[in-house]
Symmetry: C2
Subunit: 335 residues, 2 copies
Amino acid sequence: MIIDCHGHYTTAPKELQAFRNAQIDGNDNPGPLNISDDQIAETIRNGQLKMQQDRGSDLTIFSPRAAGMGHHIGTAKTSEIWSTLCNDLIHRVVKLFPKNFIGVCQLPQSPGVAPANCIKELERCVKELGFVGCNLNPDPSGGKWIDPPMTDKKWWYPIYEKMVELDVPAMVHVSMSCNPNFHTTGAHYINGDTTAFMQFIMSDIFKDFPTLKFIIPHGGGAVPYHWGRYRGLAQDQKRAPFSELVLKNVFFDTCVYHQPGIDLLTKVIPIDNILFASEMIGAVRGIDPETGHHFDDTKRYVDKAPISAADKQKIFEANARKVYPRLTAQLAKQG
Amino acid sequence: MIIDCHGHYTTAPKELQAFRNAQIDGNDNPGPLNISDDQIAETIRNGQLKMQQDRGSDLTIFSPRAAGMGHHIGTAKTSEIWSTLCNDLIHRVVKLFPKNFIGVCQLPQSPGVAPANCIKELERCVKELGFVGCNLNPDPSGGKWIDPPMTDKKWWYPIYEKMVELDVPAMVHVSMSCNPNFHTTGAHYINGDTTAFMQFIMSDIFKDFPTLKFIIPHGGGAVPYHWGRYRGLAQDQKRAPFSELVLKNVFFDTCVYHQPGIDLLTKVIPIDNILFASEMIGAVRGIDPETGHHFDDTKRYVDKAPISAADKQKIFEANARKVYPRLTAQLAKQG
């Protein structure tokens, strides 16, 4: 089985954005969202499911559109209504296509509000909707970076306690940038990944939570390319070796959109810490003129990486089953 | 000749930091800086010059300590006094060791103040001190990113006009982070690099200034590792191919502290766009236990990269002479 751990519902029917636009215009709760199962099925069949089939993956760990989370918009209440709505929509996708999708939730974060406010929605999504993880935004301010770092005990630890209790990992994923310096998918996403990793290696977060798990998407931001820099920075600060410090807890996905990048990732990062992902129908939708294939068809790159078949199986499936401990049982439940 | 295009005076005598501490305490101009030529010579002989000799490079393009620029501290006046002082110190290093060092200046940027205020100091450094380039901080706020992007015409274009007139490039280099989310050398530096590149490819800055040149340090941040992503993002936005859009104007240095990173850089980025650099006695000072050599001894990685001798000569020397058009004449002048 080939598990793509990073997919968003980027193709949702236009009614969803209409609802959101009303929120942006100041109406926190603009009434029920009228989207039929047929509409959902159509967007998935013509979108993510078709891509799965075309490219040869089997299951996508699926969450609401990342740029659409927009935690900086409105208040915590706005964010709560929006997150509930988006998560329910993911749940409907999973119910319609239970063999092909499994849910991950967005959280009702809001700048200036400690993420403990997200515990209720996380519990609901895991316990009631069968979700296996969450997306956690290290910067709910959308590029202003005004809240405390992810290693701040008072601010972040309550949500980590709940994650550990529920045995679900978080993908560290920023949302839309409202800072004109940061292009959302070209700068803010990658910077968020790099920033989080650096926070982790300078903290004792994984001493405090030995089973807490994070996936850093987009191939870990800049981290694998600068792996020597990070090892050296940690060593200069007398931190433990990475094997102890982060590698039981931090994982990188394969959303790197060219062969040399994937080759570096699989060479530098231990295979056990790499999870297959494409974020398809996402940031980059075109065809690479150098290959004739979609930039985000990352399975091709992993297939061609100079690593063993056993290593590829780990990247494609086994690692995801370990990092998302609820995945196997939930899949069985989904039948 | 082997030219290291990225060195900072990180070993300056302690009197310099005492001056700065007084500034930080609120005294903009705490009197003359008393540092003798002997003191300077000693720090260089035991520091950067020794490293040049040990590692086999010949010339360092040398500027004040990047983290020390601290543009967010005090006012534009504070920054002006501090920049003048730091640049004068670089000039003294160059006068003492004219065969081994050539100057690049820091600029008196200040958050909320358009960089046109830096024109005077740039002119002084180039025309009077013989400097061949400048460091330009894309975020003088130190990690708050509150000023306009580098592509904002009203804000940034006046300093670009002066750079073009003087025929000097800028290294895009942030300074100390005062945002607790961003570790200075592990996140803010790399994010600054990535952010600037993304700003460039979404703008017409190089149509407006066909001869303007930037060096993006630290191996271009995350950019080469995500080269497919950047090509794809630009293509989706119907931007011109990179050969037209940025590659006549944007160059990456080799401050990537492990062999696989340098191998990726030299594979993905055209050789004409890569400049040798180490940023030695900088962010990472230890020895890599995997190699037994300093992480920042980047010459070893370039030596071992699977590229031709002619390509290495470009990286080590020829490209720097092109990107810093004043370098060859200034070196002759320095004798």
